[in-house]
Every structure is written in structure tokens, then in C-alpha cells.
């Protein structure tokens, strides 16, 4: 993998909106011009995907955690963490959903534990920067739905603490 290629237009848009880990990874993807190399890189992420631990959720997963219109049957959970942060967890039900597993692994690696405000600012179109020509319109929309659900979890009001 070569050095991340800097793109001035991206720098302006990304600054202050995308968490640093995700920004760095997006810059790496920006620098991958070879389609086979991009696919291989994505597959390596898919292979590192870890399903939500049973302590957070166990199958059958609840429908409310499911990403709408994602054919790969993706699920996302967000648990509040200290300092306004959020831990993210994912599951992908379709064994052929390699792209969904790759994206989920990327989001888990780069966003989980970040500030909710930062996660909430991530745009679904990062999917196009990550996958570029490797997805169809329908697949892209399903994957963007995963990012959208992550955003929505970060934007949702925290559950109120129960009083004794």
C-alpha cells in the first residue's frame, strides 16, 4: 500500500467533520487506483469483521437493530460510552454479504469509541470513496444505509437514567 495521497478538496471537506481514524483510512482508499488492489483490501477488512458479542446482542437479532433495505441483513448497535462517546457493534446475517462485512469492520475500527458528535457528522457517501466502482447502485444504497443507521444512533437522545 503506498502513502496516502492528499487531495486538497477532501482536506477542506473532511477537516473537523470526520473522525481522524476514518479520515486517514479514506485517504488511503483515495490513493488506491487499482481495482483488484481495492477489492483485496476490502476483502481483508471483511475477514477481520467481528460479529456483535453475545453480551450486547444475541440472535435472533431484533428488527429495530436491522438496517433497512440492506440485502446483506446488516444490524448495528450503539452503546453510550464515557465522555460523550459511543461503542459500535455490527452483525451481518447474509454469509455472502462480503461488502457489508467489510464496511462494518471499517466503521467499527474507525468510529467505535469516537465522540457521538463526530460519528453523527459522517456522511453516507463515504461508501463511494471506499468502494468506488466496486458496487452497483443497489448495493451502494444498502451500504449507505449502514452508515445512516450509525449516524442515527449517534444522533438519538441518550436513554434517560432510571431513578431509584
Amino acid at each position: 500500500m503506498g502513502e496516502p495521497r492528499q487531495r486538497a478538496d477532501r482536506e477542506v471537506t473532511d477537516a473537523g467533520t470526520i473522525p481522524a481514524k476514518l479520515r486517514e483510512l479514506l485517504e488511503t482508499f483515495d490513493g488506491i487506483e487499482d481495482m483488484e488492489e481495492r477489492m483485496s483490501y476490502l476483502v481483508s477488512y471483511a475477514e477481520r469483521f467481528k460479529t456483535v458479542p453475545a453480551s450486547v446482542a444475541a440472535p435472533p437479532y431484533p428488527e429495530e437493530a436491522r438496517v433497512p433495505y440492506c440485502e446483506s441483513e446488516a444490524y448495528v448497535w450503539g452503546l453510550p460510552a464515557e465522555g460523550g462517546r459511543m461503542r459500535l457493534y455490527f452483525a451481518v446475517g447474509n454469509p455472502s454479504g462480503v461488502s457489508a462485512r467489510a464496511l462494518s469492520a471499517i466503521l467499527e475500527k474507525t468510529l467505535s469509541g469516537a465522540l457521538r458528535s463526530e460519528i453523527a457528522a459522517v456522511e453516507p457517501d463515504i461508501v463511494n470513496r471506499i468502494f468506488r466502482q466496486n458496487i452497483s447502485m443497489g448495493k451502494g444504497m444498502g451500504l449507505m444505509g449502514i452508515v445512516e443507521r450509525v449516524r442515527n444512533l449517534a444522533r438519538a437522545p441518550l436513554p434517560s437514567k432510571s431513578t431509584p
Binding site: M39, Y69, E71, S96, M141
Partner: protein
């Protein structure tokens, strides 16, 4: 399931079993081609010796909504090391939707040495057969293709309009919910941009899945297919038939079934399908 040769198909030579592929995959004149909905799937493991043909980037034009040109097809065949004498064998996920789609595109360029592996990737995996991550590297070839010929197997919207006017048969292979207009997309899939729901007037709803055994992914026998398409839906082998779905992938499978397994003489795939018809201004739609 009976052997392919015993299922009564009109052209059994276009369908091969997983066992046949196991026995023949290493032959120089055979080129295995995997085509999937999720284009990353090939990279996680594929049949040894299989090349990847990505329906989005290899078969479609990257600017227009159309297929590759003759030059593009020649370049593709060179990349996968195929000559006009090479027998290409397609397989893939989703019950061979994209395998049949690729098969259909190859027929636009007249590469008739083509087969589909019955049961697709699912059956190969269920049987515990070998997969590898090693991509083969075949020497490039100088392939001279025929001009793309759409007249026999591809239908465009104006032809569909005339077809509707003439009362000729249309087969809508989408789910009943899409056919009725209850949904604008496949269950669990996003809406890829159709503004209206329903179906082309006069179309019969015969979902693609009716032609396939859900447990193995294999095509049903000729007798079973006749009960669905002929006895059940009233289609005849001598009719001019157009099949469509959402973007032409599921209908490629039905086109394959009607043309090769049942031996229907003139079946065309309307690849514009519902993502075109459902957006056209002032065309008739039924719900």
C-alpha cells in the same frame, strides 16, 4: 435430483453439473467465470482456476446505461485468456442470477461456447468442494468478436411498447409485491429509483425463483418447468416473449430457462426493465 441429461431439457448441453466442473475445470479449452451480486465475494474464495467477471465494471458501459462495446468485449476476453474456441462456464451467487446475466451478455457478442454450472456457487460450497483465493493468470489473447447483435435476445422500450400493443406475452419475473406495485423494489433491497409501482400491462407474474429448487439452487426438470410456464401460464414455444425484472438480471435467468431448458424460439430480455419503465413518462402501467 436427476442428472442434467435426464431432465428433458431442450438444450441440456448448456448446463453442467458441479461434478462436471470438478472433472473439466483444468482443461485449457475451459474457462470458468464467476459472476456475483456482491463483487467482493470472488476475493473470499472461488473455484480453482475461475476468473472473475464483475457485472458492474466488466459488462456494463461506465458512462451510458448500456453494455460494453465490441472492443470492450474483445478486451474482456483477452484479459480472461479466452479465444473463440474457449468454452466459458458461468457460475455465481444468488442462484446464478449474475451468471445467467453474464451468459446473456456473452450471447450479444455471439460467444455460443457457453455453459452455466447448475446450482451455482451455493451448490459447490454445500458439497464442500475446493475454493481458493489464488486468482489465475492466463496469457492474454487476441480475441476478435462479432458486432453486438441485440436483435434476437434484447428488447428496448419502444419494442416493448409495440409488444404490449400487439398483445404479445410478457413475463414479469419479479416478486408478487413488486408486480402488484405494493413495493418499488425487491424485499429487503433499496429502491433503485423507480417512481411508479406496478407492472407492464398484460404481463404475467412468474417469479424467477419458480424455476429453481431452493434447497440446491438447481434448475427444475423440464416437466416441472412446463407445468409452470406452459400449462400454468399458457406460454408457448413458438411465441415472441419478452421477460423483464428490475434491471435485467433476474430476467436473464428466466430468459435462460425459456430459451435453453424449454427450447422456446424467441425470448428477449428487456434489461431496461422496471427501473426504466417505472420512470417513463406517459407509458401504461397496471397494478
Amino acid at each position: 435430483m436427476a442428472a442434467i441429461s435426464e431432465r428433458g431439457y431442450a438444450h441440456p448441453e448448456v448446463l453442467v453439473s458441479t461434478e462436471w466442473v470438478e472433472q473439466n475445470r483444468a482443461k485449457a479449452e475451459i474457462r470458468l467465470i464467476e459472476s456475483n451480486e456482491d463483487t467482493l465475494l470472488y476475493g473470499t474464495g472461488h473455484i480453482p482456476g475461475a476468473v472473475h467477471v464483475d457485472w458492474t465494471s466488466d459488462l456494463n458501459d461506465q458512462i451510458r446505461r448500456d453494455y460494453i462495446t465490441r472492443a470492450g468485449f474483445e478486451s474482456l476476453m483477452s484479459r480472461i485468456g479466452a479465444t473463440p474456441e474457449t468454452t466459458v462456464v458461468f457460475y455465481g451467487d444468488k442462484n446464478n442470477w449474475w451468471a445467467c446475466y453474464a451468459f446473456w451478455v456473452f450471447q450479444l457478442f455471439g460467444h455460443t461456447r457457453a455453459k452455466v454450472m447448475d446450482g451455482g456457487r451455493m451448490k459447490w460450497e454445500k458439497e464442500g468442494r475446493a475454493l481458493t483465493k489464488d486468482a489465475p493468470n492466463f496469457p492474454g489473447t487476441a480475441y476478435t468478436a462479432k458486432e453486438r447483435d441485440e436483435s434476437r435476445i434484447r428488447a428496448f422500450r419502444d419494442e416493448v411498447m409495440k409488444h404490449v400493443g400487439a398483445g404479445r406475452p410478457l413475463v414479469d419475473v419479479r416478486s408478487p409485491e413488486e408486480f402488484s406495485g405494493q413495493r418499488l423494489h425487491m424485499p429487503n433491497y433499496p429502491n433503485e429509483g423507480a417512481l411508479r409501482g406496478g407492472h407492464i400491462p398484460g404481463a404475467k407474474n412468474i417469479p424467477w425463483s419458480m424455476a429453481v429448487r431452493p434447497d440446491t439452487g438447481e434448475f427444475k426438470t423440464s416437466e416441472e418447468l412446463r407445468s409452470i410456464y406452459s400449462t400454468g401460464a399458457g406460454l408457448r414455444a413458438d411465441q415472441d416473449i419478452i421477460a423483464y425484472c428490475r434491471i435485467g438480471e433476474r430476467s436473464s435467468l428466466t430468459w435462460f430457462v425459456l430459451t435453453y431448458l424449454m427450447g422456446f424460439a424467441k425470448v428477449r430480455n428487456y434489461d431496461g426493465s422496471w427501473t426504466e419503465w417505472g420512470n417513463l413518462v406517459n407509458v401504461p402501467i397496471e397494478k
